[in-house]
Structures are given as C-alpha cells and as structure tokens.
C-alpha cells in the first residue's frame, strides 16, 4: 500500500482540476472498489480526491418523463426512489441484485459503472495481468475463467465488467454527463465502456480527470415491460455468471414486438448491448422460436474459454436459456 494524500472537493470543477492536473491522482466516491484496490496494491495513486460532495446527490425530473440522477446518488437511494421504482423495474432489480445492503449504501451511481473487473488475477498483484500491469501477460488465460468473457475478449484480456447497474443502464439507452478539463460533454452510456483490444488497462473511454457528474434515464413507452435477471452461484452477494437486462414493448401489449432493448452482463469487458438479438425481435412475434433465434444471433461470435474445471463453456447455453426465459416472462400474458 502506497501512502497517498486525500482531498475533499466541494464542487465538480475543483475535483476535475485536482485530478486532471496530476497523472497520479484518482477520484474517490463510495470507495467500495477503490479502497480494496489500495489495500491489495492493485491501485497505487499518490492522491485521492473525494467527490461525494462535488456532484449532485439528487434525482430530478426531466421533460418527457426522464430522470437525471446525480453522480453522488447512492445505489440504495436510487433503488428506493418512487419514480425509479414505477418507471424502471429493470433498473431497480439490477441495483438490488448487486452486492450487499451495506455496499449499496456506500456505492454511488457515478462510481458504480466505473468499478473494475473482479478477475482474480487482476486483483492479485503476484500474478500477471495486462489490465493491471500492461504487457505482463494474462493470468486468466488457461486459468480460472468461470467469471470471464465469452464475447468481445482479446488475446490480452478475458475480463468481464462486474456492475449490474451498468447492464441496466446500457439497455435503457442512458446518457452519461461528464466534466473534464476542457469542459462538459455527454455520451451514450453504451459508449462509456470499451472492449479490451490491445489496451485492456483502459476500461472506459473517459480521459484521465474526466468526472461523471450525472446519468440521464430516458422515459420508456408506457407499455414497455422490463426486468433484470441475474444468474449467479449463490442467492446474494455474488457477481453475475450471466445477467440479462431486457425491456420489451409489444404492439397493443400482446402482439408483435414493437421495441426490444437488451443488454447482457457477465459475458464481456463491457455491459453488452445485444443489438443483434434486438434486431431479430423487432417486428417479430414473441414466440419461443423468436427468442431462441435472437439469442443465437447474439451469440454467433461467442468464444468460450478453456480453463480450470472446464472453463466457461457453460455460459453460452446459459445466456441462451436465461435470455429466452427472461423474454418469455416479459411477454407472456399477465395473470389478472
């Protein structure tokens, strides 16, 4: 553990100035992941800037039914917000499916999507990891790959993104507001994370010193039904083996699929927006065959990994089965 300084920023501009000007500095929000990394030696910043008072902790209404969620809103507060509960059951389930009550009370909406992979080799400084130590090798390849990617991995990195909330935000077409040294910008949430390629040390498209200040949730058409299904090795306090965030709107609530938004968790370096599956669903009848075809389309390029205990080949059928079951649940007749 390296000694560091700790500053508390009272506004976003000050926070950005403190971090952008110091390559050795990092933002600290809820600390539920970074503090672990400090203790493990995975992160060794020389300066931390506490941003929990630098951004908004409010959830405000936007025109047209959308919501703006300040970056400092705690996960548990977002999950408890009446408007969010009414409009975005998928989002609430993703939040409540994550971590534990104590961690959700600490974690922030701005920080949660920026948490880093739980790949055991990334978290163990005695093993190689290209993400932690560029060009040191990938410890996961041929090792413990149960929680690793089947989509979009590179020869340098097999890691998955661990956030549940991020999967829901990717499916919802949320927008991220960012403040950097050069001013404000916004980007679609699906463009926040990046595939590992040959720079696995970069999880996101943010530049050093760019601070997430808020996330906008767009309104969904009123007939949309959404949910988040997390499949994991125990009933609580476990990362997803596979998760599915799905929102489906049927014509007249029972006919063909007007709109489908799907994102997958536990399968890639990013919350994986399932565009191919959505394309198959759009305009189709909501049948078991359609759902299966959607899953298969999305998994055409899936590449399961070898590894201890059979690697992660089980994830490919698991994604299919979980996606089909989730779509079935969202489209079947509601019992009166």
């Amino acid at each position: 553990m390296r000694p560091f300084t700790l500053a508390t920023a009272t506004d976003a501009r000050e926070a950005v100035r403190l971090v952008a000007g110091d390559p050795d500095a990092a933002f600290l929000a809820g600390g539920t992941n970074l503090v672990d990394h400090l203790k493990l030696g995975v992160a060794t910043p020389g300066a931390l800037v506490d941003v929990t008072r630098a951004t908004s902790a409010e959830i405000t209404d936007l025109e047209g039914g959308g919501l703006r969620v300040g970056a400092a809103v705690r996960n548990s507060d977002l999950a408890a917000d009446r408007r969010v509960r009414e409009r975005h059951p998928m989002l609430v389930r993703s939040l409540l499916g994550g971590a534990s009550g104590q961690l959700r009370n600490m974690a922030t909406v701005g920080g949660n999507p920026l948490q880093r992979t739980r790949c055991v080799y990334f978290q163990d400084v005695t093993t190689p990891c290209n993400k932690r130590e560029p060009r040191s090798g990938c410890g996961a390849r041929g090792g413990y790959t149960r929680y690793h990617a089947v989509l979009g991995a590179s020869e340098h990195c097999l890691a998955t993104h661990p956030s549940d909330l991020a999967v829901a935000l990717a499916a919802l077409d949320a927008t991220v507001h960012v403040l950097g040294a050069d001013g404000e910008r916004s980007l679609p949430f699906t463009e926040l994370h990046r595939l590992p390629g040959d720079e696995p040390e970069r999880d996101t498209t943010l530049a050093h010193g760019e601070l997430v200040t808020a996330i906008d949730l767009p309104a969904l058409p009123p007939a949309t039904r959404s949910t988040y299904r997390k499949v994991r090795d125990r009933a609580s306090y476990a990362f997803a083996l596979v998760s599915v965030a799905a929102a489906v709107e049927l014509e007249d609530g029972e006919g063909w699929v007007r709109e489908a938004r799907i994102a997958l968790g536990g399968v890639a370096h990013v919350p994986w927006r399932a565009h191919r599956a959505e394309a198959v669903l759009r305009g189709a009848e909501p049948t078991e065959e359609t759902f299966l075809a959607a899953a298969e389309a999305e998994l055409v390029d899936a590449r399961p990994l070898d590894g201890l205990d059979g690697g992660n080949a089980f994830k490919v059928p698991l994604v299919t089965r979980t996606l089909v079951a989730t779509l079935r649940e969202l489209t079947q007749e509601r019992e009166s």
Binding site: A235, F314, R321, A325
Partner: protein, 700 residues
Amino acid sequence: MTDPSTEQLRPVAIGSDLERRDGFPKVTGTARYAYESEAASPAYCRLVQSTVARGRVDSVDTAAAEALDGVLLVRTAFDAESLETDDGELAVLQSREVAFRGQVVGMVVADTAEAALRGADLVEVAYSPAPHDVVLRTGRGDLYAPEKVNPSFETDTSDGDIDEAVATATAVLDRTYTTAMYHNNPLEPHATTAYWDGEALTVWDSTQGVHPTRAVLADLFGLDRERVRVVCPYVGGGFGSKGEPHVHVVLAAMAARAVPGRHVRLAFTRQQMFALAGYRTPTIQRMRLAADQSGRLAGIAIDVVEQTAKVKEFAEQTGVPTRMMYAAPHRSTTHRLAALDVPAPSWMRAPGECPGMFGPEVAMDELAEELGIDPVELRVRNEPEVDPESGLPWSSRNLVACLREGADRFGWADRDPRPGLREEDGWLVGTGVASSVYPVNRMADSTATIRREQGRYVVEIGAADLGTGTWTTLAQIAADALEVDVAEVTMRIGDTAYPIASVAGGSSGMTTWGSAVVNAARAFREKFGPEPPEDAEAQGSTEDNPATERFAMYAFGAQFAQARVNRDTGEVRVPRLLGVFAAGRIINPRTARSQLIGGMTMGLSMALHEQSVLDPRFGHVVNHDLAEYHIATCADVAEIEARWLEEHDPHVNPMGSKGIGEIGIVGTAAAVANAVHHATGVRVRNLPITLDKLLPALAG
C-alpha cells in the same frame, strides 16, 4: 451398570436454554479479541510472502523497508532467530527453502499498521524457483499410505473379503465421488498480540486451546511452560483452523522479542488465511457397495485419495466412518496421499466424517434407487446391532429413530421416488436424505478448580469458547454438579493462568472439560460440604472413561433436504433443511441449536458453494477472498431446523452428553446432492453442485 466416572448428574441448569453469558459484551463491542487486547504502545507486524511455489530465496533487499519512517525492524530467513522445532509448518523463517506459494519469507514491524504494510511491499526478494507439483489425481505414481490417519486411526482396514462380496452380490455399485478443497474461514482472522517481559512471553491469541498453544510456544522458544501465558477469552470462530497454532502466533512472538517493551499485533489478512491457516484436503473417494435384492449390504468399501503437504503431513481420516456405519460383513477402507508443494492441510469441522460421509451417503442413495428401495428404509435395513468395527455394543445408537422422526416431520411418506417429475413455477423440486455420525471423543489432561469467592462459586479452567457457548454451558454443568443455582457460578476460561484444558476439537469440549468440572465439584463438596468457607478450593480432572472399553460411543443424525433447481438456468436453491440428531443429553438447547444449524449451514455451503480454486500454474488458491470463495449467505439458507431426540446414555460422561459441534455438517452435502438428483435426475458426484453441472441435462 454405570461407572462411577459417568454417574449421572441430576439436570436442573443442564437442559435449560440460558442466554449466552458472553452475548452482551459481544454485541455491545466490549469483548476484546486477540488483536484488540490492551497495549500501551503497540507495534504492528505485516508479512512478506513467497511468490513462487517452490524454490529457494537467494537474497533479500530490506534497505528500502528499513529506511521507511516508522519501520522498527525487518526479519527474513537470513537474520531471524532460531526456533527449536521439527514442525515444517511452524519453522517459519528458519530456512531459505520455499515449500509452497504464500509461505512467509519475511516480516516487517512498524509503529503503525500502514507503515508495516508499506514496508512489507518494499522488501525485495530474489528466488531461484524450482518446478512445483500441486495437482492431486488418482493416477499419480507417488501416492503413499501414511503410517496413521488423523489423529491415530489405522490407515487401511480390511474385514472379510470385499472382492468376493462384490463378485457375488446381486447389486453392485462402484462409483467415484469428490469433495473440493475447503478453507475454514472463520470471521475473525488468525490474530495475536505478543509481549515479552524479559524472558516471559504473553500472547493474546485467537485459539481453540490456550494450553496447547502454550506448549508449542514454550518448545519453540526454549522456555519453561510457566514462562508463557496464552490468553483468549473470545474467539470469532475457528472451525478447526485455530485448533493448532499456525505461524501467526510464532511470528508475533518473534517480532515482539525483537522490539522489547512493545506489544506486537499481527493478524492474517483474508488472503493470507488461504495460505497460512490450514484447510481441508480435496478428496477422491471410490465407493463400492455390494448388496442383495433386499438392500442388505454384504460389502462396503471406500478407497480415498487425498493430499498432504511436503512441508508437513496431515492425513484426513476420510474412510473412517465407513468402518462402522452400516452392517456389512465385508468391509475395506484405504487412504492414499499425494505429498504436494502446497500449504499443510489441517483440521476443518468434522475432519474425516464430513468429507467421508459424502461418498458413502450418495452411494447409498444410488443403491436405493437401483434396487427400488426407499433410501430411509435402505439405511434402516443396514442398521448394525453392534459396532461392526470393534464388535462392541453401542453405548446408544438412535440412527433409526432419527431417520424415522425426520421422515415423519419432513413428510417423507408422501414422496414419489422417481426423479425429475415435480415442477413448481419453473423450478424442479426434489428431496433427499443422508445419515450423520460423529464419535464421542474425550481428551486427556483437563483440570478444573472450584473456589468459594465472595459467596460465589468460581470455576476456573483454561477451556475455549469459539462461539460455541462454553462460557454458559460449563456454568450449567458446574451448577448441577454443585447443586446450586447457575447464577451463583462464575466462570473463568480462556487463559493459561487457569488449570490446563484440552483443545476445543473433536467435539470433545463438554465431555472433557465438563467431566473435569464435575470431578472438581464432587471433590469440593466432599471436602467442604454444603456450606463451604470463603476461599475453599478443590480441583478435579478428567479421567479415562473405562466404559470406552465396553461400548462404542457415537452421536447419530439424519439430514433431510429439499432442493429446487431452476428449469431454465440450473440455479440450485435449498428451501428446507431438517436435521434430527441423537446426541445424548443437550446441555443448552439455545447454544445447541446454534451449533447444529451452523454445522448444517456449513454443509449446505459445501454442497452448493465452497471450493478453493488452486491454480496449478501458480500453485496457490486464486479465489482467496470472501467475494470469490463463496460461503452460503443468509439468502441461501431458508427454512432450517435442527431437532434432537431424548437420548439417555449413562456411559459417555456424567452429563450424559455427546459432542454436537461437528455432527451438524456431516451428511448435509449428501442429503442436498440426493435431493438435487431427485429433483432433476442428474447425479452430481463432484462437489460443489453448481449450475454448469446440471445445465446439460435440463430440457431445452
């Protein structure tokens, strides 16, 4: 006829569900654990661990660490003090050889925990690595038979002719089952505060036995035992991993000796607990059952392959329960070990019985299915009249009553035995049963003192309370032995300042310490009568129980589980667990229930979740924290119920009690595996039962 040594107490306080005496200080945070013991100006010790699994330390560079503000000293194998031991695990910093990855190769002591941690990071170690060998498998050419298995059982046994029994039986089952590597993971890490006053050492250590720890430390440091004091009033769980000292207490004592006048605190990190605190070996169990058409066993055999460490041998007695469980005239059990470049395995809750009742109890379920016999009935049909191994009668054996009572409470009679038929809301549902067993153990060497102080009866014995309830239950035993109200009894335990007590292990605490307390009470009353003067004092010790020559003594139980398996995802949930036990007289129903459902929860955890993933390329457990090494969470445990039968056993001890700390974990995993099979038709023989093992067989 009963022996004088087991003449029964009249239970008054015994049997009442008193609250824990240590409950209030614990929940209000005033109970001080080892790392929090009082110290005027403590120093802190952090460890440097090997990053190779085998090899030799060529050199260390400690300059940067030593130059760091607050660092008091750095020690490595090049300059650590010499210890007197041939224990390969405890001989820490005695050699430059590296025997496993994560082995301690240095320590840093500093004024603050942060400086010590930073200092440990700055120690540079250069190794000559050597190839390592960490993979357990059956085909290895170097498997060997240990001299004995833990603690002193025969390695192999053979009665009758198992091969002949298998060759001539109507029904034969020959299957291999595996259990994973497990880490005990008590909530409180292994921790010590150590202090030297001249040539006298005091350690506040988190341990299951203050006197056994004292004996080891005295030998290591070449001290008379009287010069070592070990204090441990509270333990945040041990599950066997604090039964024998590990290197933390040795290192803390070495560190404190090197910084005279300072208390030194050392606690393992969670990750260090996966390398330095013992674990349960993975096991590979080949089971053979030979039976007639009615399910009566002619033969039962288990051949166990498991691992030990080159640095120190530990041979888990996995095959032992098969020797006595069922009435099969032809029996064979073997143990073979692979000695690997890994940390030393050690005790974990019910060593032997816990893994050793997985293979056999799933095999019994498979046999029941093959023969079309109800699995409860199959076990009843194989009930032995006397102990098959020793030929002795049972002091008491109520397995059949447990099975019957459990079946009744669980609604077993309505069970359709066919697998894979029941579905509720997208979940496949099934039920399973397995037997439990645990021996009645009594340790040597425990003494209690009873003294009259300010009108109260003060009981002193160096016993341990791991969260099991000793503070409370020993007081109940003392009260009934003295024939006084339990409120008049003061307990003093967990300190070598009190008379010697054995380790809290083998579920032997109540039998051993309780017998000492009863003997002390009887001596006290004999000497001083009903109205003792102030300062009246008497001692009593545990004695050998001659009845063990005439009876086989065990507790038994039956475990019932309901499993639900998601039709789409293969996720497994266990909405209901019921354990029915016959374990003699229950001293305190409140703490007993906690012990039993705690064991069952750990067994559920073993069934579904726990697995230390050893990466053979690196040689260490890579899922070494509680986020990645899964234990059951509250959400995984739904309806869980422990019941016990009234059982009168006049032979075990004066309380009529049998140990209950371990039996709860025995058989649980098999019951869950059997329930999963009943739900899905999939027989999972390799723990843990995870969804990937079920998915291929679930319908489209």
